[in-house]
Amino acid sequence: MGAIVLAQEGGGVARRRLMGVALALAIAATLGGFLFAYAPNFFSVRNCLNVLIQGSSLGVMAIGLTFVMIVGGIDLSIPATMAFAAVLGAFVMPVWGIMAGVATMLVSGLAVGAFNGLAVAWFEMTPFVVTLASMTVIGGATVWMTNSQSLSDFPDGFFDLFLSAPAGVPVAVLILAVIAAIATLILSSTAYGRSLYAVGLNAKAARLARAPVEWLLFSTYAISGLLAGVAAVMLTARLGSASANLGSDGVVLDIVTACVVGGVSIYGGAGMATGAVLGALFVTLISNSLNQLGVSYFMTLVVKGIAIILFIWIDRISGRASR
């Protein structure tokens, strides 16, 4: 009898997960209806491409957070890291060239992530507090370095490279697609990826099965930092400037929303890169469409906040059944 009951529970989990997808689709469809009636421009190819491009850097950061959340952590410092990396790269690029500038962005992102990882994995500090603190430190340093000014002295080659669209596909979208594909492969089909889920589900059991738990935790923050660096490259290219403002508070909310809407569990052990990407597009779509409908920016914050609460509730009820 027990087995039968349990099997039904298993079905329940799948059903509740579907509920999340259905809810996201329903919201998107409702919005679509409004847009069709009041802002038909939204459906132009150009605007759709715009949503994709706007969502691409968010998508890359959400993939980074997916790694961290799968092991049961959180990284609030991603936007601050991204702004920090963008600014450092903007200092370097006019002097040492495009490649040096891009490399600076990637390495500085990786370095911040490695610091977070070190603190969480070996010093056993709480991810929430560590990344909140590093967010503050790095955010402060970025403002101080730039005097709150935006830096826009980039070589033309930088824009030529990252704003091009081979075969009509913008480079930003390509980067997102490639990173999403690699992340999906890593998470679903490598020993490393499997170990991440195991740590998130039950760190004790993972350690018993000889998984190097500290290294795994560390690596996810390093990846998250590195992808923040990648997002820095994409965003500076799109905006044409780098400033401390890139990492404004609203971005943290967007990244977390993207992951939660995309089915990445805040309790760890579940989530996919593709989900995070779809979540990022969903968030961008909401911002973009509400904007097109003439809704205030502050109202979009209200909508996103409510979306987070709804999806965390779904995560909660599906998570409760599966453990």
């Binding site: 027990g2 087995a3 349990l6 099997a7 298993g10 989990v13 492969l185 679903s188 089909s189 490598t190 020993a191 499997r194 170990s195 889920y197 195991a198 589900l201 039950n202 004790k204 059991a205 993972a206 350690r207 018993l208 099965a209 000889r210 998984a211 052990g269 599966s322 453990r323």
Partner: protein, 506 residues
């Protein structure tokens, strides 16, 4: 006979159709300490939880000082003068002694907590226990023994007539234990009825007037402590140990040494543990619950830190010193906590098996090949006769025995030279137990060295070639394959009485 302080008769309880307590009766007199003993799952906790109002009894009667009492909640228990002194110190470390003692009923004035009244109520309790610390001291500054006193003071705060001590000495030093016993004697002299739950047999002869032994949810013996020998109590606890058929012939010549452990010590739990495992042998780690069996295994593979000691493993024909972390790489460990530590419950059987065996399921470019993963799992499922619908089924939907086989199959796939099995049959039905034991024998026959711990002697006797006797974190003996039931029972009981008790040393 004068009326008992507490009289429980005909108390029963079933959990999900399984009987946890059957027709239990317990009679405690005022002014005496009554030991309640039993192996894991004997029903002690259920009986005490009924008394504490945490679980509801099905039938039976509880009389307190002669009057029928109905105990439906912890509040009722308190109102009936029953108080618990909990084992692992459920104290709020950052709060003061007084706050901890009075947590269930903080004195208030005008809606705010009244610190003066709090101190005034706590101080007499501390004086009664002879404590050297004050009501305002923070609990985190106190040692284990003093914390235990705070627990007792908390229990005394409701002025109970019946006090239940649950494993009170498990984290105390010898000196602290002596002090605890003085306090218990004083409480007895004041007329309290004390129920003393413990696994340490020597303690009951020191402090308890009467003893009741439980097994499989029943009371199997009860009487004045001096009428029993330690051996009697162990026999009652473990029950009739029928020499079940051995599943294995002990190999004639011992194999080469594959693991040596030398003077392993860890934080008061392990004290100079040394032993050797040889190729193809099954060694039983035999001791009562709380003797340090689990701690020995966990220390060897680095799950718990060690203070001192050396471990060496056979590699390329020679014994090489290794760290516990390195030892873990060559050792398959089956934990006693299958669901909490052994398995990834929401994941499929196939994924549980392949986790830890990633190299075996790697396909092109080192990526996981789902077909190989399923083939590996399917092969082991057939070999171990695991009952399931599909290897894609979440492992949490399997029965306990089949879950345990999944744990084994994970290690089988990588065939480590050494296995540490901690209570591998815990919570399994008789058939599943035999299958797991048969599997253990197969491991040894295939050349692995196996160290197995179990609370059930008859199980060890079916498979073991040798027994290491564990007591209080030490290995106090090594018995050969011809050790019979009585010798093994004597090894864990008589030594505990004949060895000097720790309190008398202090």
């Amino acid at each position: 006979m004068i009326g008992a302080a507490l009289e429980m008769t005909g108390v029963s309880k079933t959990f999900a159709g399984v009987s946890a307590l059957e027709d239990a009766h317990l009679s405690i007199q005022a002014g005496e300490a009554h030991a309640l003993m039993g192996a894991n799952g004997a029903g002690k906790s259920t009986l005490m939880n009924i008394l504490g109002g945490i679980v509801a009894a099905e039938g039976g009667e509880i009389r307190i000082a002669g009057r029928v009492a109905s105990i439906a909640s912890p509040r009722d228990a308190r109102a009936n003068g029953i108080a618990f002194v909990h084992q692992e110190l459920a104290l709020l470390a950052s709060m003061s002694v007084a706050e901890n003692v009075l947590i269930e009923d903080l004195p208030r004035r005008g809606g705010l907590i009244d610190p003066a009244a709090m101190a005034a109520r706590t101080q007499p309790l501390l004086d009664r226990l002879g404590c050297g610390f004050g009501p305002q001291d923070p609990v985190e500054k106190l040692g284990m023994g003093d914390r235990q006193m705070v627990e007792i003071a908390r229990a005394l705060a409701s002025n109970p007539s019946i006090l239940i001590f649950d494993e009170p000495t498990s984290s105390l030093s010898a000196r602290e234990k002596a002090r605890l016993f003085d306090v218990i004697r004083k409480l007895k002299a004041e007329g309290a009825a004390i129920i003393y739950v413990t696994h340490f047999i020597d303690e009951i002869f020191e402090i308890c007037e009467r003893v009741t032994v439980m097994r499989n949810g029943r009371i199997v013996g009860s009487g004045a402590t001096p009428d029993f020998t330690p051996g009697d109590i162990v026999k009652l606890m473990l029950g009739d140990i029928h020499q079940a058929d051995r599943l294995r012939v002990t190999p004639a010549a011992p194999g080469e040494r594959v693991l040596t452990v030398d003077s392993l010590s860890a934080g008061g739990f392990l004290d100079g543990v040394s032993f050797t495992l040889r190729v193809g042998e099954i060694v039983g780690l035999w001791g009562l619950l709380g003797s340090g069996r689990t701690e020995i295994m966990r220390a060897i593979i680095g799950l718990d830190p060690i203070d001192a000691g050396a471990i060496a493993l056979r590699r390329n024909g020679a014994l090489v010193p290794v760290s516990p972390h390195e030892a873990h790489q060559s050792i398959g460990f089956v934990t006693e906590d299958r669901r909490g530590e052994g398995l990834l419950l929401p994941l499929s059987v196939a994924r549980n098996v392949s986790f830890g065996n990633m190299a075996a399921v790697a396909g092109r470019f080192g990526l996981i090949d789902r077909n190989r993963e399923r083939t590996l799992a399917t092969g082991l499922v057939e070999r171990l006769k695991i009952k399931l619908n599909s290897v894609d089924q979440p492992v949490r939907t399997l029965s306990g025995g089949n879950q345990q086989k999944v744990v084994f199959s994970r290690w089988l796939a990588s065939s480590p030279p050494i296995f540490l099995l901690d209570e591998p049959t815990r919570g399994l039905d008789v058939g599943a137990k035999s299958e797991i034991l048969a599997l253990t024998v197969q491991l040894a026959t295939a050349g692995a060295a196996v160290l197995i711990a179990s609370s059930e002697l008859e199980e060890l006797m079916r498979v073991c070639d040798r027994y290491l006797i564990v007591q209080r974190g030490r290995i106090i003996g090594d018995l050969g394959p011809d050790a019979d039931r009585d010798a093994l029972l004597a090894a864990v009981s008589e030594t505990s009485a004949s060895s000097p008790t720790l309190s008398s040393v202090a």
